[in-house]
Symmetry: C2
Subunit: 390 residues, 2 copies
């Protein structure tokens, strides 16, 4: 049960999820909640961070990037503000006991270790950083059990599933059905995708998000990551997790039960709703967020995903079945490949090729520690960067 009084740290506060989280916190606080913001963090966006510091007066901030840290130091001087640096700073904050809740909106693998530190310090977590569960779901779930903490998903799909499961018995689930918009290339051919520009890949039809997740949506790796995330969040067998393409992103996801009944959660695509639910679950709080007007969405469409065209989703399904250290390999290769694509160093269609190559050359094992995951991640990254001289 979520407590209306929270002291939170918001990791990744200057990104899309971070900024929306602060709007949600303002709204909750004007509706009887008492959420104070103890820590904010950014990678490089120090000016946005400075604005947030003025408004929320946190006890401290972390700036991950070294240059940005130095720039912040020379440019700003907030009285009494603790300014920490890098991953070390994140880890230190995650461990402190002057707050009780972490909103983790970090991007990619970097979210993993702070999440673990926060769990080990008995904090509940609202998790937007899906990579954490993808690469180390087994370790994370065993830790949340041990430390009796909870993870509330900040993801429209997993929030939808959590809501559909409310009051239902897990044993009655036939399957989870994650919806996928299909991204900007749903109706493009593989040939057209091959020649796509970074700009095209960054124009998502429904959601305004950060660059990494927008490219992941274009390749549909985002849905692949979500399928693996769902396995761990809901303790679900791999074969009970399906994906259906739904271009309008109105139905955020569904649960089919053993009696043939299906429950869906829907609404306009606005991350503030799942963010708020992560902070109020299983309760709800009145919000002034835009309402769904069914007459404006005169048609909701569905189709099967094309796994030959969206190879990343196919890869993720295979990795989901195999488990072990494969998810860490897939995720590391994907993060680097997306970065290379954004820098113009590879074609869009090379992203799945790089991932597949690295999976094929990896010795998978089910017997792994957190250190093995961290080492695998770093090894795969270096391997690809060497090859592409990045």
């Amino acid at each position: 049960m979520n407590n209306p009084s929270k002291k939170i740290s918001l990791f990744g506060s200057t990104g899309s999820i971070g900024c929306n989280s602060l709007i949600v916190i303002d709204s909750l606080n004007s509706n009887g909640y008492d959420i104070s913001v103890k820590y904010l963090t950014t990678n490089t966006k120090i000016d946005i961070l400075a604005g947030q510091i003025k408004k929320y007066s946190p006890a401290g901030v972390v700036i991950q990037d070294n240059d940005a840290y130095n720039e912040f130091r020379s440019k700003y001087d907030f009285k009494g503000l603790e300014v920490l640096q890098g991953k070390k700073g994140l880890m230190e904050i995650a461990e402190r006991d002057d707050h009780d809740f972490l909103i983790n909106a970090l991007v990619g693998f970097s979210g993993l270790e702070p999440t673990i530190k926060a769990i080990q310090s008995n904090k509940d977590i609202a998790l937007a950083n899906k990579e954490t569960l993808v690469v180390a779901g087994k370790i994370i779930t065993s830790l949340t059990n041990k430390f009796n903490t909870r993870i509330f998903p900040i993801d429209s799909e997993h929030s939808a599933i959590l809501q559909c499961l409310q009051g239902e018995d897990k044993k009655n689930i036939r399957r989870l059905i994650l919806t996928a918009s299909g991204g900007p290339f749903l109706n493009k051919t593989t040939e057209e995708m091959k020649n796509t520009s970074v700009e095209d890949a960054l124009s998502h039809p429904n959601w305004k998000m950060g660059k990494k997740i927008t490219i992941d949506s274009a390749t549909m790796m985002n849905k692949g990551l979500e399928v693996i995330e769902a396995k761990w969040l809901f303790d679900m067998e791999s074969e009970k997790i399906d994906v259906v393409i739904h271009p309008e992103s109105i139905i955020h996801s569904m649960v089919e039960f053993i009696d043939g009944s299906i429950k869906a959660q829907l609404g306009i695509p606005d991350m503030k709703i799942p963010i708020q639910y992560s902070l109020t679950h299983p309760g709800r709080i009145s919000s002034g967020y835009p309402k769904m007007d069914f007459t404006k969405f005169s048609s909701l469409r569905f189709e099967e995903p094309d796994l030959e065209k969206f190879k990343c989703l196919k890869i993720a399904y295979e990795v989901l079945k195999e488990e072990g250290t494969y998810p860490a390999v897939m995720n590391a290769a994907n993060e680097i490949a997306v970065d290379l694509f954004l820098k113009g160093k590879i074609r869009f269609t090379e992203i799945p090729e790089i991932i597949e190559y690295n999976l094929n050359n990896h010795n998978n094992t089910d017997d792994y520690s957190l250190e093995d995951i961290i080492e695998t991640d770093s090894q795969i990254r270096n391997q690809i960067l060497r090859k592409y001289n990045d």
Copy 2:
């Protein structure tokens, strides 16, 4: 909580809901339930009833129609079977304590008094007979509170809402959204509706149902009755119940919460799913009923209902606001008008005209007893029948 061991009476066993209920009971019994069928009833379909008697060996049956009763008596002789007659027979069975659950699939106002007798005899009820709640919702809900019994809706819409509310706090509901197929005349003009044949009005696009409810679907009075039913089933303010047209009948209904999140229950249009849920709620039992294949429903559409064209829905909304004895007037006038239309005595578009005329000439009151409802019903029926010489 529903008990897997039940002794039931099935009122209206030879209709569409009745026959489907028996299929569901067979399926539940092969899945660990222990449901015995103590009583079956029909209005006129004695041969179907005879088949059901052979299969289920009930203790007794009721035949409502006098001629059908006599024909059954001369045609069949089931050893040890008690055969009762008419409304009196239904009332007697509803009151008995040799069973604990009533499935009420009677048509129209005739379902009201047996429902009340069953509640007063401490039975839970699976209710397909929506007219019961429409005409006497206030009386019924006060009785279910007094006798601590429950009503489980057998209606795809209300079953959907019940499922969406599972695990949710009633105070967090912003509105209920009932979906309506719009029936066979969704895309017809009022002029075309005026000249429609009985056959056209009986061809519903999605659901195979009895004649009364099929005509109610064509006029959209069915949705009007459901709006009023929802008010009583879920103790909901009138202004929090909306209708949206959804021609595919895949989303069976929805609930919008105060945070902007919407939950929907969906699936193929098959009454066996809500019937089963009324017997298993809040649990679920595995079923072999056909599964939803999203690729076969490539588009789900929504639009606002046209209240000028579907006058019956407009009337029902007004009656919902006014309450009192108006719902009984509306329902009686509708039942008789539908019957007159089926007999070829009035045009399709005269149905709302007859209802409106009778409402306009009725002195509404909020201070009424069950007897007042019964008298109002009978008075309205006689009034219309006299006028149309039926």
